[in-house]
Symmetry: none
Subunit: 199 residues, 4 copies
DNA sequence: CATGAATGAGCCTTCATTCAT
DNA sequence: CATGAATGAAGGCTCATTCAT
């Protein structure tokens, strides 16, 4: 790995790219996905053109930020699998992770919602990855007879999206309501396949 | 009450108000809740100031439009009750009505979502009315042991909101994906209490 | 003229409109048709939106400015006709007027060139008007056997456009070269019909 | 000629230069002279700096591209002379060639127009070359009494420029109107001297 | 000598809200 | 009470040119 041979005219470029992503992450978290890209560029100490060179589309930037958080998602997944839970409980947990992930930035559900329809975009691919994992957990639950067979990962993904959206303020600044987090909604969503037997 | 002495003081106003609402309804349906108010005013044949006088806030206009559709909702409710279904089936039906109602205009879920947090506004009161009905059906189901006791009408309202949102394109023109209408999502939502036991 | 009865909520609007046109005329003359509209608005002392309200398109503004100069053109035409010249001489004179008119603002030939292809726009209609006059003079010359019968007003208009263009700097700032005005070109253009009898 | 001893010092440079010109030719033809130089560099597989080193100015690049097409022009000229036409017919043919040559790339007339005023630049020298040939044909016609004596090659060059410009859409994509090609204009231009005998 | 990343000014457009008439 | 003109901030995007590597 002592690969310090490659000509590296990209040293600062990569640094800039990383800084942009870093700044964007914070900006998204603080002001939502709608924050003016100019302000991101400024805060990152680069020109507008530089940001644009790296991320021609806002979506591209969002995708890059999410990519940076991918390890977290992988870790969560591994954690769930390591616990060797019942299939339905595992799915349960995964959905909770999903919703939480979607709520990271204001407006993220909306972007993901749009990306699901437009595969092939970087963000669309991120969705596909996540949906695949969901399918994985869902499949196990279905094989165990713990989930309805006519449901797909995409359904759950969209359901989680709606849940995350409903529990998030759409307009930046609106607070995540009065204690009514998405938990109640999530509970409903879980019930969908975990069989909400009151008994 | 003493007949017609005044030339046309309030007559015009009411006519204008009605026309604005009518035009807005069409505009909302066609272009979503984001239509420039200017264009609504123009299409209604009134000045921007007039529209503004009647509806100081876009929310007010939305509320007025929804008010006009309230009878439909009442009728639906009456219809469900007239059928004397099992409590859970009735709730089921009501939720379907709810989601459908929320999907009438692009962007409506978002406005309702915001209004729920800000009661006292006209739109917030509309929400309360609808939530009350939901509580009515939910209560019956709960008393019949057909629904979890720890869920509230607000939860279902928010759930329906998320469902309606997820099944609606945010940007006008984007089609409700590949056949995956909100029905699948709705099914999940219903399952939450309707007991989705595959067996 | 004592017509001060009509409700006139447009008094200032018209004043603004006039001022914008006036300022634009100067700006076009000084910096060419490419001046930033923002600067025109600023110089006219109005907001960007106001300018935009009056002239949604740059073309609309150009058309309005030209409209203001229409009387000049009419006067020129009347003057030519008053002289009762031979048909070919009259056409000759009119073409000179045309070229001169086209050279008023840097970039005008280009806008007119585009407008000819897209009738129905305000600028396109201006073109049509001018072409009609050209057809008038050309027709007379043709009937007198002094001009080729297979040429149309549009041909001469385009020819004049090319002539005006060739004698005007395209990039603002470049001076109208070294004494080589459009006269030489115009001479060529005139010859096209003045002596072009195939027979 | 003595085979390949030097690794590739000048070889690359020349190869790059050639490739850039080649790519630029295609880009100019497809998108006009306004293509972003960045894109040309990218398509040529070189860095922007490299392109810039070879051609400090866009004009320089244009000149280089035209230089590449010079043989065609020479061949045309030779062809005309080989036919031993009457002087006026020869000039006629040459002008047609000229206009056609000017219409090769969108925006070319504009660049040439500017270059005429600024001799000494590479593009200006290209113009001079072409004007010289025009003078050659024109002179012959004048000596034969077939062309007005007070016209110069530069006049015809500018006339051809205007003709080429007027018959070319400025915005890429706009078609050369409804069948009205530059032929009609060219016809006018030809007439200017072909029959313009003052006598 | 090549690379290609960074710069950064500049323009157009939209629309909610106010207020003179 | 209606009108509709004016406001004016704000944001996304491009691209020629430079210069560090």
């Amino acid at each position: 790995m002592s690969a310090a041979r490659t000509r590296a005219p990209r040293r600062d470029a990569q640094r800039n790219r990383a800084r942009i992503i870093d700044v964007a992450e914070q900006a998204f978290a603080a002001e939502g996905l709608d924050v003016p890209l100019d302000s991101v560029a400024k805060r990152a100490g680069v020109g507008a053109g530089t940001l644009y060179r790296h991320f021609p589309t806002r979506e591209d930037l969002v995708a890059a930020v999410l990519e940076g958080r991918q390890p977290d998602l992988d870790r969560e997944r591994a954690g769930i699998e390591a616990e060797r839970l019942e299939p339905d409980a595992a799915l349960d947990r995964w959905l909770a992770v999903l919703v939480s992930w979607m709520r990271a930035y204001n407006g993220l559900p909306g972007s993901l919602r749009a990306a699901v329809d437009a595969r092939s975009t970087p963000l669309g691919m991120t969705c596909e990855t996540v949906i695949a994992v969901t399918d994985h957990f869902l499949g196990a639950a279905q094989r165990a007879g713990a989930a309805r067979p006519d449901v797909q990962g995409l359904d759950l993904f969209l359901g989680a999206l709606g849940t995350a959206w409903a529990s998030t303020a759409s307009s930046p600044g609106t607070e995540p309501p009065d204690g009514r987090t998405g938990d109640d909604l999530l509970r409903l969503l879980r019930c969908g396949w975990a069989v909400g037997r009151p008994g």
